[in-house]
């Protein structure tokens, strides 16, 4: 007979099976040989501490229900915090993707939004633009930030093209076109206005263009200085414009030139300097009153001159161009003479030539019947110019003539005896004796 009852009164049989134990019996675990539980032994509502599991799975904490995503369909999830991935587009905090060409990842907030790439303090943070899975095509374009030195770099075609350094300076590796233009081969091509807005007085040039580099001071520079009365601007080569209106050379060994546009005084000054000196001279000054002052000569090109066309004209005017001035000496030629003494001076103003001459001899051997003609005029007369004798000796006029006319033409200086009611006649050599001298002057045109 099997025991069917275990109670405080005693055990009725020594063969106890599970069926013999009351369902609510409290059996001490020490009375059990082992506890070999399987999932079927665990109540569906059992709360098993994570620490009791053989291995601890990744779990989420701190969220609404501690599950970040929910699979909503094949290859699709729904995040509990507005995270959506439909298999090709990842949306964060939004259900509306971005524009079609940039909708693979959309992040949205109603305020300032950003993405942070945090990297080592000697490393770079990068965003690469790739069209390949190997080679340089993997980083054909890139935005790179280097924490080693702190610089932001833009890459194109696999190479760095632009950099902003930690000090705020920026550089393009190659050329730059501004204003919707290509560089056109220039290092900088600006299609528009250029404004240099660093105001104030400075000893450094506002604009500086490097020269050939063959000598120091060959740069071209633009600078200004000013006060309440106004500014002056300067441009120059081997010339720096400093404060208070002073100019200085960069290299005293070389020449320099600078132009001052002096708005304070309403004038423009050209300043130049010779070699091996620090001295700078104001060689040309154009004043506000219209005056022009220069310290050197005006050198006109051949056939050019000063044009007076804006002045009033006299009747018969044929030219208003003063195109020549010259002064010098000339030597009258008087044929064959002994102890000859000839000299002359001339002044030419425009087409007008004034000559002064002196001839003398102790004796001559020219053919007595030949006309007296002196040569050697400094310029060939264009017509006839009238001269006068200032003084003369030993000229024997014909008895029927009382005066001597003297004129210059293309054959030289000619002499005519003039008489009363008789024709003029040429003076011939036989009428000039020994110890003759003549001093004469006059004008003619060329």
């Amino acid at each position: 007979m099997a025991l069917s009852t275990i109670n405080s009164s005693g055990i009725k049989d020594d063969s106890i099976v599970n069926a013999d134990i009351k369902s609510d019996a409290a059996i001490a675990k020490s009375k059990l040989a082992s506890l070999d539980l399987v999932n079927a032994d665990i109540n569906a509502s059992a709360a098993i501490a994570l620490s009791k599991l053989a291995s601890t799975p990744a779990v989420l904490t701190g969220s609404t229900n501690n599950q970040i995503t929910t699979v909503t369909s094949a290859n699709a999830i729904q995040g509990e915090a507005n995270l959506t991935f439909d298999g090709s587009k990842l949306l964060i905090n939004t259900t509306t993707e971005g524009a079609a060409n940039a909708d693979d990842l959309t992040i949205a907030t109603t305020g300032t939004t950003g993405i942070t790439i945090r990297s080592g303090d000697t490393n770079t943070g990068n965003i690469y633009f790739s069209d390949a899975t190997t080679g340089t095509g993997e980083f054909a374009g890139a935005v790179e930030y280097s924490h080693d030195g702190d610089s932001l770099r833009l890459h194109a075609n696999g190479n760095e093209r632009f950099r902003i350094s930690s000090d705020g300076n920026a550089k393009f590796v190659n050329n730059l076109g501004v204003g919707n233009v290509d560089s056109g081969g220039a290092t900088l091509n600006v299609n528009g206005n250029v404004s240099v807005s660093a105001g104030g007085n400075t000893a450094w040039s506002k604009v500086s263009l490097s020269g050939s580099g063959n000598s120091s001071g060959d740069d071209f520079s633009i600078n200004n200085w000013g006060d309440a009365e106004g500014d002056y601007w300067s441009i120059g080569v081997n010339s720096t414009a400093n404060q208070s209106g002073s100019h200085a050379k960069t290299n005293d060994a070389k020449r320099s030139v600078g132009v001052l546009l002096d708005g304070r005084m309403g004038r423009m000054i050209l300043q130049t300097s010779q070699t091996s000196t620090a001295t700078i001279d104001s060689t040309h000054t154009w004043d506000r009153g219209g005056d022009y002052t220069l310290t050197g000569n005006i050198n006109l090109a051949d056939t050019k001159g000063i044009n007076f066309a804006t002045t009033s004209d006299a009747g018969g005017m044929t030219s208003e161009l003063l195109d020549d001035y010259e002064e010098g000496t000339w030597t009258p030629t008087v044929g064959t003479v002994s102890s000859g003494n000839t000299s002359g001076e001339y002044t030419k103003i425009g087409r007008l030539v004034h000559i002064k001459g002196f001839v003398a001899w102790s004796s001559h051997s020219n053919t007595g019947t030949d006309n007296v003609v002196f040569g050697g005029l400094p310029f060939t007369p264009a017509g006839v110019g009238y001269l006068y004798l200032g003084d003369s000796r030993w000229i024997n006029l014909d008895s029927s003539h009382y005066s001597l006319g003297i004129f210059a033409n293309s054959s030289g200086i000619n002499f005519k005896e003039n008489g009363d009611n008789t024709n003029a006649q040429n003076l011939i050599w036989s009428q000039l004796g020994n110890d003759t001298f003549m001093g004469f002057s006059g004008f003619y045109h060329v």
Binding site: W330, G376, P378, K416
Partner: protein, 101 residues
Amino acid sequence: MAITKTQENDKIEVVNKWNIQVRCASIIKEDGKELTRSFSRKVLVPGTLKGGDGADKDTLVETDLSSEDADVKAIAESAWGVGTVKADYTAFLVANKSTTP
């Protein structure tokens, strides 16, 4: 300090076919820098009429260029050697023998 003086014919002009206008510049320099420049002028013509009472009185006696500077001589010979320049000049002299101004 070195003072130098040089002379050069800085203008040689042919006027009216036969007139050779020559300007000689005297240049004074100090250490190569020009200080002054003064001028002396003359006009060379192809020659003079022989004159006298002979039959050849209207023959041209050509100007002796042997004492002229080489550059003046070259230009004069070139200008006067063209076509009928000398004959034209001779005719001019003959025609102007009795010129009245």
